[in-house]
């Protein structure tokens, strides 16, 4: 196990380096100069500015410098926010997104799992249809429509929570988190339901029942644990996606988060920031996937984490 984890960590670094390389060269294919004011500068200025940002050098040299700085944890300097380091930029924008993402994830999965279990245990009853319907509604309404409905009713009409902005403590985070939670909620409810129904019908549960295990014990000890495997496969990437994917919700609630920053850096061709954000998301995602793979082993001992044909 220790050897496996060590090997995976080495792989994770290789993956990151590959992603950094890929994103570096992808940036070069994007149309437009990274220097926003480029067409206002004269040739002399262009030469000087290019030198300042180091984009006058041949691409391989630029790449080497970028990777060297990356090794030191330096993501470079933003082209749009003059003279500001990407590290600073990301650090400041990350916090609201992380808070929203974490709240949405925790709330969404817990409620989703409960709904899914309820539906599975009361298969083909009102509870099943009710929670299934809620889950369908959750995935049927795009998060931005749901977000604006929440904003319109709860904030604008009833004045219960702020309409937007990030300056009202925890209150500011409630509505956006709720809007974001719909995805994980619906997804976990459906997966848990499907899996648990299957598991509940399987032989070993029948055996467990025959041996006199009570419903609660069956639900949690046997069925739930098995149902969790496919859920974790989807939820891992989803968690990472929540932080990136919240950009529309962040825009609706005027929250200075990372998703919103990401889109505007793409729109303004801010290469260093795009690469920095890409790398950060990638690192996050890779770690999540790693954890998921380890969890497989913990949840289902029959899966040998080392893989191998057999």
């Amino acid at each position: 196990m220790v050897k496996y984890i060590g090997k995976r960590i080495v792989y994770m670094f290789i993956t990151l380096i590959l992603i950094a390389t890929a994103s570096f060269f992808l940036m070069q294919t994007l149309p437009g100069s990274p220097i926003a004011s480029y067409n206002k500068l004269n040739d002399t200025q262009k030469a000087i500015v290019e030198k300042k940002y180091g984009i006058d050098k041949p691409k391989p040299v630029q790449y080497a410098i970028y990777m060297k700085n990356l090794a030191k944890g330096d993501l470079g300097t933003s082209f749009v926010f003059k003279g500001k380091s990407v590290n600073d930029l990301l650090a400041k924008r990350l916090k609201p997104s992380l808070i929203l993402g974490a709240q949405a994830m925790v709330f969404g999965t817990i409620v989703g799992i409960l709904l899914g279990m309820l539906a599975a245990l009361k298969h083909n009853t009102f509870w099943d249809y009710g929670s299934t319907f809620l889950a369908i509604l959750g995935i049927s309404i795009p998060s931005f429509v749901f977000a604006s409905l929440l904003q319109y009713w709860i904030a604008s009409e009833w004045h219960l929570l702020p309409v937007g902005l990030w300056n009202d403590g925890w209150k500011s985070s409630v509505l956006p988190s709720l809007a974001l939670a719909m995805g994980p909620l619906a997804l976990s409810a459906r997966f848990i339901r499907t899996e648990m129904i299957e598991v509940l019908n399987s032989d070993y549960i029948v055996l467990a029942k025959a041996k006199g295990a009570n419903g609660f014990e069956i639900a949690f000890k046997h069925a739930f644990r098995n149902a969790l495997i496919p859920l974790i496969t989807v939820l891992g990437p989803l968690a990472a996606g929540l932080v990136t994917g919240s950009l529309v919700v962040e825009q609706i609630f005027a929250i200075p988060g990372i998703g919103e920053q990401f889109v505007s850096s793409i729109m303004t061709n801010d290469h260093a920031t795009i690469m920095g954000t890409t790398l950060m998301f990638s690192a996050f995602l890779i770690v999540v996937i790693f954890i998921v793979d380890i969890l497989y082993g913990v949840i289902d001992p029959r899966i040998r984490v080392s893989g191998g044909k057999g």
Partner: protein, 579 residues
Amino acid sequence: MKSNKWLLLMALTLVLSMFLAACGGSKDEDKPAADGDDKDKDAATEEPEEKQHAKDEEGEPDAEQVLHLAESAAIPSVDSSIVEDAVGFNVLNNINEGLYRLNQENIAEPAMAAEEAEVSEDGLTYTFKLRDAMWADETPVTADDFVYAWQRAIDPATGSPYGPFMMSGVVENATAISEEKMEVSELGVKAIDEKTFEVKLERPVPYFLSLMSFGTFYPLKEEFVASKGDAFATNSDNLLSNGPFVLTKWDGTGDSWTYVKNENYWDAENVKLTEINVNVVKDSATAIKLYQDGKLDRAGVSGDLAMQYRDDEEAVIQPETSVFYFKFNQERDGKETPLANENIRKAIAKSFEKEDMVDVVLANGSLAANFLVPTNFAFDENEKDFRELSGNHLEYNVEEAQDHWKKGLEELGVESLDLEILGGDTELSKKMDEYFKSQLEGNLEGLSISLKEVPFSVRLDLDGNQDYDIQVSGWGPDFQDPISFLDLFVTDGTNNLMSYSNPEYDKLIEDSKGELALKPEERYEAFAKAEKILLDEDAAIAPIYQRGLIFLHKPHFKGLVDHPFGADYSFKWAYMSGK
């Protein structure tokens, strides 16, 4: 299995009711207002009356002078040499001050300068006497601060987008310095003594004083800038203000910042606001909800929302001086495009209805444009609008358009054309492009239009490489003179980028800068002639509209001044009354 059917029914009803709730609820609210409908119907069918600006009304200032505003983007930079975007110039205009400032009537009046500048007979030397003004750190603003700032802006090493752009061909030696052919110290600026600043020009520039209110020409205290090094202007601690307000709580990249009154400002007694809180809100619908919730005192209304709010009691239409037009690219990939044909250009320019477009598609107070130089922008000696002098060009006329079209196709020897319209990717530009497509295809037989909608940065790139057929482009002036627009289309001009060239046009523009520079009347005539050549004769571009914007503006927020060029707003005279 009966329940399954009911589940489906329930699902449908719930979804339905959910969305119906949104409209049902709001309908109820409107019932009390349903009386006196007739008047409103008329107002809606006809042109909306020009709204009186709420800010014009008088009123006693309140005890608490705190303003809450939203911006549509974060501040990229407030380094006066580097600033290039609307948000940055706006901040700069309110925390710093140049020799001149646009007053409440939008006329440049002495600010850091104590009195009107002395201009030499030949119009080449300007001498400014500085007022006893202080920086926020209580040191005096001196002529050296101006010399330093101007030299810094022209120094190619600074990489200032506006320094060479504004100074080249205007201030002595600026062009050569920006190309590293001369030392920075040779720029035609001089501190005669601590309070006297002298500028030598390369040629007479009639609009020179209106440049003095532009951010790039603001003073910078060398000692302060040098002591901060690279950190200068990267956050509110590393800024030194000499204007009405001081910037605080700005971390350099954040989505919020605050202005507080600068007690060391020379005219501080006329500054009433003590605090202005600004948050970045990109979504217009959100800004409106915040406004209605009392969290903002003013909110921009954009896109489809404009139609809904333009008749709102608190809506204010703010005319702007940005003009939008089609650029017809005559050469793409080294080959002539069909748009090199004059008749084709004229046909397209005259084939779309502009009035309907501004009323229904834009619905935000924009004006249909049959001109390049906007209305209410440039005035001659007798205060007469340049537009009265120049008249209308390229008006909508389907018959003429179709005649031109037929002729053009014959000349090209083809029966149909496929052209691309390159436009922005905002909601409004997309809607507009769809309208153009339908109008052009409907009126010109055999034309088929494809639309390409890209982010601004990509559009600049395509523009730079002349990789488009027709582009929806726009220009907002940096100073108050028709040349700000007409200079764009001289042969090989930096913003021409469509291979348009007419020696006669070039000559007129050249003359306006040279021999006519000190003859205002003839100069304006030359401009009118140039505009006529550009539009009527050559149809090099096809004007579309002059932009207007709608804002929701709380009645208690008074005294805001919006400027037709340079920075958008001054908060100097703003105050809260009756909140």
